[in-house]
Subunit: 337 residues, 2 copies
């Protein structure tokens, strides 16, 4: 009897600690098949085989938990980037909202085109136009103010085609992949060309990725005292572009370790895929190929947003997995029937 | 009897998971009094009281685990910065090692002074001399090569006063503080003016802080292909100075959350201490005051390295804890008898 009581007490104590440490969630995850929204194709098997090898102690592909770093591009890899980047949608809305305070925008590009809903006119402004646009909408306030502007925008803004909140435009199979990697002790990061402070307010809710695991493009901030309160002011000055060759540099700067798993969907991810898979030891790279014009969009080599050409050409010889959204995914978005 | 068996089985299962998830370590830590190398003074009580409040659910000072971010300066806060920064020691040794390949250094400052062991001559070169020195010793190689150079140096280099490896020159009470915070679900970061890639090879071993939780000054890196292998080359160009007003900017950039606990020891930490403790909600700031000329060094307002003046003046009115190394610490270094 005493033994029963003691065992029961021990059980209680351990149930408490197991609950505290979130073991309940891990037990639950283990009970379920991984990647349920993926079809039973080669893509799913390759991912699962790689993960199984990294966690098999004593095996050739074993990787210590602290080195299980997985990085994900965001636009077109975790959420949709068509008909234009979600962050561009934010800029367009922001210009319209701020226009009454900027009468000069009526005659100045790219603002004039935006106010006239002329997307082609914006494109004509080229890179300089886009940078001006970014600086006008992303700088001049404190970091706390910008965080609130972005959060408020996400709470209300809708995707132009589906009419769904942008926060619902994430790919369900990719969110499952993030969960699956984390349940195998991978640390998951976003490495995106998008603005780091545009993504951070929503990544935890959307992907289970906390702000400190978001790497992206940055603008310079400046410490200032406003009425005896220290703030960080966002300056109209680009600090770092986390795209193309900037991605491996960004990973090295922010994370300081080489990932062993990388997912992208465009030529902007090419260099980080090369860098990750060239390292000694295990490395896995995958491309999300947008092949599903019905459920999402079909595009690659000719697209303005998310152009995929060089990386696709080299995928076979570099043994990079190309995920065919149409064939490999049961569902694209969680809201599909 | 059946109940006993079942309870026993449940216990076994949970013991297993508890062990897997490292609960054993937490149970062990809880059994031991925190901060054993701290004297039983006000400093120790204030730290413990703050931590207890942050973990007390329902209490006014409660902070959700994901927001328990603690940041630590490195030089003079976690390890010694006298008679000069450890990274400067690295530079001096590096110049001597590379000198045979650079005959021009014999007549060029600050190299000439270094080769003549003339520390004052180096100082005469001013900031430009130090930047030249940094670029000559920290750039021109790949990130992997630099990592190896730094690791090899730490394996052999000795502190000029104690003759101990630099890796033993860490403050035992501060390492205990890091452990104590982590055992209360704080995430611990280094936020240092030192080079990020100079610290990362050793922070896990020295402080239990992984590379991705090290924020520091950076130089620009460039992606390049060398014989079909992608590498990152370190360029002789400063990217970011993580010191003074750069520290809150660095925290915002790399971590994306405001810390609730900050430790520093010099005026270079002033702005991040202001920024952290001005936030709404709980916030704790402490200064390590170097008062122990016997066991370490005694310095503050006049010191070339780790000057502490303004932050010390304002500590009382801002309610920042000033830790008196001599009075508050039983031991400074682990190697003391």
């Amino acid at each position: 009897m005493k033994k029963t009581v003691r065992a029961f007490q021990a059980t209680l104590v351990l149930v408490f600690f197991a609950a505290v440490s979130g073991m309940a969630g891990i037990l639950q995850a283990a009970a379920q098949e991984p990647l349920p929204s993926w079809n039973d194709t080669n893509a799913r098997s390759r991912i699962i085989n790689f993960v199984k090898q990294t966690v098999t102690e004593g095996g050739e592909g074993f990787v210590a938990p602290e080195d299980r770093i997985a990085v994900f591009d965001n636009d077109g890899t975790l959420w949709t980037e068509q008909p234009y980047y979600i962050q561009l949608g934010f800029m367009l809305d922001r210009v319209k909202k701020l226009a009454p305070q900027h009468p000069e925008w009526k005659t100045k590009e790219p603002f004039k085109s935006i106010l006239n809903d002329d997307l082609k006119g914006i494109a004509r402004g080229g890179e300089k136009g886009i940078v001006d646009l970014g600086m006008s909408t992303h700088a001049g306030m404190t970091t706390d103010q910008f965080n609130k502007i972005v959060s408020d925008w996400f709470a209300a803004a809708k995707h132009p085609k589906t009419g769904r909140p942008y926060t619902e435009m994430t790919y369900l199979p990719m969110r499952e992949l993030l969960d699956y990697l984390r349940s195998n002790s991978f640390k998951t990061y976003i490495v995106s060309g998008g603005g780091i402070e545009f993504m951070r307010p929503v990544t935890e809710k959307l992907y289970g990725i906390p702000p400190e695991q978001v790497v992206g493009s940055t603008i310079t901030t400046e410490y200032a005292i406003v009425g005896d309160v220290p703030v960080l002011r966002r300056l109209p000055k680009i600090d770092f572009i986390d795209d193309g060759p900037g991605k491996p540099a960004g990973i090295n700067k922010f994370i300081g370790r080489k990932p062993i798993f990388v997912a992208g969907n465009s030529d902007g991810d090419y260099e980080m895929m090369r860098w990750t898979t060239a390292a000694k030891g295990p490395g896995f790279a995958m491309l999300v190929h947008h092949t599903d014009g019905d459920r999402e969009y079909a595009y690659d080599r000719q697209s303005v947003f998310g152009k995929l050409d060089k990386a696709l050409n080299e995928s076979e010889r570099r043994n990079w997995l190309v995920v065919d959204m149409k064939k490999d995914w049961k569902k694209v978005f969680a809201f599909e029937q």
